[in-house]
Amino acid sequence: MRFSPHKACSAALSACLLLLGCSRPDAAEPRSPRASVLTISTAVDADALIPPLVGTTQGKQAVDLLFDFLAEARTPISTSGDAGFRPQLATRWQWAPDSLSIAFSIDPRARWHDGAPVRAGDVRFSFALFTDPVVASMHASNFVGIDSVSVRDSLTAVVWWHKRHPEQFFQIAYNLAVMPEHLLGKVPRDSLLRSSFADHPIGSGRYRFTKWTRQHDLMFEADTGNYRGAPGASRIVWVVAADPTAASLSVLAGQADVLEFLRGDAFAQARKSPTVRAVEYPSLDYAYMLFNYQRTVSGTRGLFNDHALRVAISQTINRGAVVANALDSLGRVALGPFTRATESVDTTMRQIAFDTATAARALDSLGWKLDPADGFRHRAGRTLHFKLMVPASSATRQRVAVLLQSQLKAAGIQVDVDAVESQVFGARLAKGDFDVALNIWRTDPSPSTIRQVWATAHGNDVEANFGRYSNPAFDAAVDSAAVTFDPTARRALYRRAYQSIVDDAAAVWLFETRNFAAINARVTPVGMRADAWWAALPSWQLSEAGAP
């Protein structure tokens, strides 16, 4: 028999089609056994499963389901007093008459996943672990002001403060994940991650640990006998997909149920998809053009200390157009160093308006004269020129930077976009090695933490005040708000602080992101909080229709 190339090609093609045809899913197949499994597509793997050592959002999602907190924040979260909380590990709590301590009564039904009962000693141990300098937890600062935790009896833990403040309850209940002393107590504190607990953590939450393949998947299963009741999904699986396109396609293709952030084309596709919903939840992220107040720019040391110049730059930028062009419906113009989801925010507060004519006059009066020859402003032989640093990993911020460059150029300000790798961006930001940076900040639910970023820095520890901004009026208002118990007065003080920093044009407040999660239509999400969309995950309901 002679060999025919045409026949060989036809045979190969037929074989391919047959093979692919065989693997095609059939609607008549039996129901998937994974109907009650909730699969979350995530770009980054969890970094650790021991709460004090967790640094990523993905790690936080996992430990929040695995471990319990003394009380659970309601939606929306309120940080003042205890009214915004309901019982979780503690069934009730009692304030001392002087408010310097709170006694938490531990639920006697609470059990670790290995069967041992949860005791007050575990609360004391967990506090010690978070605050031990040897552990070097990045969350240790959350407990500043707490003196100690004592054990009154096996089911009563008492938390003591040095002095009263409105967020005492929030401070302990929101931040302290309770860990088992009987399993972690003997592990050397400088090598917690090398312990067997790090690979097989045991908590008391409504989900228990099943398995973790680093950089691939993390799986929890329902603790069906949990003292707080069995959760909705029988299992929760995080599947790591570092490539954003592949991550969104996995949800759009029905192979995963949840993607926490939708961006760009995936957002448009999700809105058109019959099987996927784009579900909005509040955001705590805002982006801003950060001035370096100590830098010599355009030949002037501390150029950006000039309030009139900052206001003129702000007036030059059409923030609405920037947001519409770079983010479309996935962003809003920022109001200040907070978002619309921040407690005490006033969305009607006064803003610096886009006004190029006024900006031009101000720049002229400051001596920055426009040279028609090159189209830029000059003073004493120097061009008004700065570098705008952006992380190369963020396509959105790079787009925004180009738009800003164009708008500022129209006003005679020369801007060079300096796109750097994200670690370099972080390192230079921390060192103050930049003229102007396009940064994004995720605020904490507590409004008082605005001090980390914008309060006057003392000494070398600038925390996150990378530009070394200083505004005594702002500092005073925030400091007063942080110790004011009366909710109305506290809100008024925060609003005064916010208005002060906005009027001062401390930065150009560019945008706050609008968070849309892609969620399969078979999933009914509840309680997606700005600070933790996953907070009520155990209560999410899944239907069997459309299961992978």
Partner: protein, 328 residues
């Protein structure tokens, strides 16, 4: 052969020393470190960061760190990851196993595809079908791997739903499935990333194979075989094909470093938990021990593979063993 092996071994060691030293220096020169943290959120205090740096030995002079790293590496200890404190050997061992599975499958598919299409093109130069196949493969060779990967995901995973979008297995099947189901699941996940690699690499093999077969078709003993009435298929497989093995092996050898580079992109796009994903993650986190360890593993892999290829070519092609004439 012994002196050849000794020469190549020395060459391999020199290449590795240079690669590891350069890599170590470059990683340490890059700004930022694992303790810098995420700048979008408040991190640990500077005191706590300093304590962690000291614990990891990052406060030591670079020369001290280098000597410690080399001494450890010679004893098979590449240190611990700065992000999760796992032994680097364990992290890279698992990742390497996964990478080799992917690269092996991709290579096997590439060789099969390339040899078949290249041979057919060379043997039947007038066939329009094979020319078409060859051109299609060459076009795919020109397409960047990440574009090809996304296209395959879009068409075969998202569009048709035949294959998973990414990952190495389905976590639920890997936990609850039978052994057969688990193997089938991994193979199903392997198809698209291996195909992405194979389409690119296969074109290179096919081009080489086409030229080699076209040349061998003109060799006397092949023509004699045809004249004696051997079937075309037999003449191709039994007579022409064996003469093309050495050049194809040489091409595969040249492809090895590209395979490592190409696998990184494919692994990231398909979320395949191999060396590529580990390296990308470690570089982003400035996890110096993992990056340095990966450089050791990858350079070892490339250098030993090259050595192996040289030995195989020498064994497969008698012309390589003929002593060179001297000038005396």
């Amino acid at each position: 052969m012994a002196s050849f092996l000794a020469r190549r071994l020395l060459h391999t060691i020199a290449v590795m020393v240079i690669a590891v030293t350069l890599g170590f220096a470059l990683v340490h020169m890059a700004p930022g470190d694992a303790m810098t943290g995420d700048v979008t959120q408040a991190g640990r205090s500077s005191e706590a960061s300093a304590r962690l740096r000291a614990r990891a030995g990052l406060d030591q002079p670079l020369s001290t760190q280098y000597v410690r790293f080399v001494r450890g590496a010679l004893h098979g200890d590449l240190g611990h990851s700065l992000t999760d404190d796992q032994p680097v050997v364990t992290i890279l061992g698992t990742a390497l196993r996964n990478s080799l599975a992917l690269a092996g499958a991709g290579l096997l598919a590439a060789i099969t595809l390339g040899m078949v299409i290249g041979s057919a093109q060379g043997w039947y130069p007038a066939s329009r079908s094979f020319r078409l196949f060859g051109r299609a493969l060459t076009t795919l060779y020109a397409v960047p791997e990440f574009v090809l990967a996304i296209a395959l995901i879009g068409v075969l995973a998202y569009g048709a739903g035949w294959f998973p979008v990414g990952g190495m297995n389905d976590p639920v099947t890997s936990l609850l499935g039978s052994a057969t189901e688990r193997v089938a699941d991994v193979l199903r996940h392997l198809v698209l990333p291996a195909l992405t690699l194979a389409l690119g690499w296969g074109a290179a093999v096919a081009r080489q194979q086409r030229a080699a077969i076209a040349e061998s078709a003109r060799i006397d003993f092949v023509r004699t075989a045809r004249a004696k009435g051997r079937s075309e298929f037999a003449a191709l497989v039994r007579h022409a094909l064996p003469t093309t093995v050495a050049p194809v092996i040489a091409v595969i050898g040249l492809m090895l470093p590209a395979m490592v580079g190409g696998s990184v992109i494919v692994e990231v796009v398909f979320a395949w938990p191999g060396l590529g994903v580990q390296v990308v993650h470690a570089v982003a986190q400035r996890d110096v021990p993992v990056v340095s360890g990966a450089i050791v593993v990858i350079s070892l892999l490339v250098a030993t593979s090259s050595l192996l290829i040289d030995v195989v070519i020498r064994a497969a092609d008698p012309r390589q063993r003929v002593a060179r004439p001297t000038n005396t």
